[in-house]
């Protein structure tokens, strides 16, 4: 079955209004409910939320040596904030989950097919 990465991007300096405890709990509950729905539909493979981009570290090889530097790799205003890996019959089903995710977390979702499972 094809696998898809649903990635959610956060934009630096575009921090939303801080949520109240109540809002935070509500949002967390919604995310939990969606994840439970994905699991019971057999679509969920893995998911995670990431720390801010300034916590990332880049490791690369240069002239045979390993260089470790403060990250992220791409200096951009947008960074990966979290992701789901799901398994669905086709793109339409994946887009259906992406629609639910974007409604829950109010951020655009990028849907990427995995290269090793789809024959592409």
């Amino acid at each position: 079955m094809p696998r898809y990465l649903l990635s959610a991007h956060t934009v630096d300096g575009q921090a939303r209004e801080p949520m109240t405890d109540e809002q935070m709990q509500h949002s967390w509950a919604e995310i939990q409910a969606l994840e439970a729905e994905m699991k019971s539909a057999g679509a969920w493979v893995f998911s995670g939320r990431l720390h801010d981009a300034d916590t990332a570290t880049v490791v690369r090889e240069s002239g045979g040596e390993i260089l470790t530097t403060d990250g992220p790799f791409v200096e951009a205003r947008e960074h990966l904030g979290g992701f789901y890996i799901i398994e669905t019959a086709d793109l339409d089903a994946a887009l259906g989950w992406a629609a639910k995710v974007t409604r829950t977390i109010s951020a655009p979702i990028e849907v990427w097919p995995f290269a090793d499972t789809a024959g592409g």
Binding site: P2, A89, D90, L91, D92, L95, V111, P113, A115, A118, G119, G120
Partner: protein, 407 residues
């Protein structure tokens, strides 16, 4: 008996290749395999048919020959590799016997929804539809959209790769998804027709737009907007022959010889519009068709029921609030309330790059006697309609269709 020559086989190709390609995609789950096999079958037909005569069912011959060719190729290539690697998700729930060549559900319907999937760019949707369903060569599709052939070839390859890599399904969307998924399909057919209103391969594209709209209307009789699109295209096309003077200049609606309008197309279009009215599920294409029906019904520009047209534009503007609709509504308003009221609306629009905007403005200024301003506006329209205008025009149409799609 007709003479079986390249021209006749070319016509058959245009008519039949879409169905054959669609059937082979269902059987093999791979667009490239299907396309190559159908091409080969037609190459064979070009050699055989002039000698042996036409087979009783040319389309069936092509599909069967192409299927056999594809199986041969796959057997040779497979050498132990599994055929199942070629797998586009195909909904076989309505197939009595998978692999059989036969019209269970028309495969072209599946194919058009795959070609016009919203995950593909509008340009790719149009290109794929014309290539796979319309049987146009990549060169013909490129010329229709005034891009270089390698650019179009690359665009098609990318789109086909995305269909495969992302597993875009080969399936008619469910009832719930249908309204959203039908919108880009209709936009693509409309764009195809419109691409034929300029450019070198114009006739072919307009006919192709109508042909595909007719197929879709037959396959989806419950969708009022599909019928509306077909009616709109027929009524527009009915005036085609008298739209241009001998020197190639445009003849405006008011100056056209209405006796030369194609009555057969008008009658078919009007009958569809009447059926749509009875159905009472209005949508943008049906309303545009109704507007054209009012024109088709009038003996002259003066006896046209402009208040009816204005009312239809009000309805259209509520459903599709775009700048171009607002502009066309203003043209109708000029006939009902006079040019001054219309100009006030036109001057508020942001369509500076659109030559018809300046032409419309120029006409209103002229009617108000503001001739210096009118001349400036005409000049602006002419500049925009100059060398690169067709390209700009088409690009704008693409953007408009896109905004209608995302509405």
């Amino acid at each position: 008996m007709p003479i079986v020559d390249g021209a006749l086989i070319g016509r058959i190709f245009r008519e039949e290749s879409g169905r054959s390609v669609a059937t082979l995609i269902r059987i093999f789950g791979d667009i490239d395999v299907a396309e190559d096999a159908v091409q080969e079958a037609f190459a064979l037909a070009l050699r055989r048919w002039p000698v042996d005569g036409l087979p009783p069912n040319p389309g069936g011959w092509i599909t069967t020959t192409a299927r056999n060719r594809a199986i041969d190729h796959l057997r040779r290539e497979a050498r132990g590799r599994e055929l199942s690697r070629l797998a586009l998700p195909v909904d076989r729930s309505d197939d009595a016997s998978p692999g059989e060549v036969g019209p269970v559900q028309d495969d072209r319907l599946r194919l058009i929804f795959t070609c016009c999937h919203p995950a593909l760019s509008v340009e790719a949707q149009v290109g794929l539809t014309l290539r796979l369903l319309g049987g146009l060569t990549t060169g013909e599709v490129a010329r229709a959209f005034l891009v270089a052939e390698p650019t179009m070839a690359k665009r098609l390859v990318r789109a086909k790769h995305k269909i495969k890599a992302a597993n875009i399904p080969y399936r008619v969307p469910s009832e719930a998804e249908l309204p959203e998924r039908l919108r880009p399909v209709l936009a693509v057919l409309y764009l195809t027709y419109n691409a034929g209103t300029g450019g070198p391969s114009g006739d072919d594209l307009r006919h192709e737009g109508i042909r595909l709209a007719r197929i879709l209307a037959n396959l989806m009789p419950d969708e009022a907007e599909v019928a509306g699109l077909l009616a709109l295209l027929l009524l527009t096309e009915s005036r085609w022959a008298v739209r241009f003077a001998r020197d190639g200049s445009l003849i405006l609606l008011r100056d056209q010889d209405r006796a030369m309008w194609d009555r057969t197309m008008i009658e078919e279009g009007m009958a569809i519009v009447r059926a749509c009215l009875r159905r009472n599920q209005p949508g943008p294409y049906q309303i545009q068709a109704a507007i054209n029906a009012v024109h088709a019904d009038a003996a002259s520009i003066e006896s046209t029921d402009w208040s009816q047209i204005l009312a239809l534009y009000d309805q259209l503007l509520a459903l599709a609030p775009t700048q171009v609709v607002a502009m066309n509504r203003a043209i109708a308003l000029a006939e009902v309330q006079g040019p001054e009221a219309a100009l006030a609306i036109i001057d508020d629009l942001d369509l500076d790059g659109y030559h018809l905007f300046h032409a419309t403005r120029a006409d209103l200024l002229r009617r108000l006697g503001r001739l210096d301003e009118a001349a400036l506006a005409y000049a602006r329209a002419a500049t925009l309609a100059g060398a690169d205008a067709e390209r700009a025009f088409l690009l704008q149409r693409v953007e408009l269709a896109q905004s209608a799609t995302e509405r």
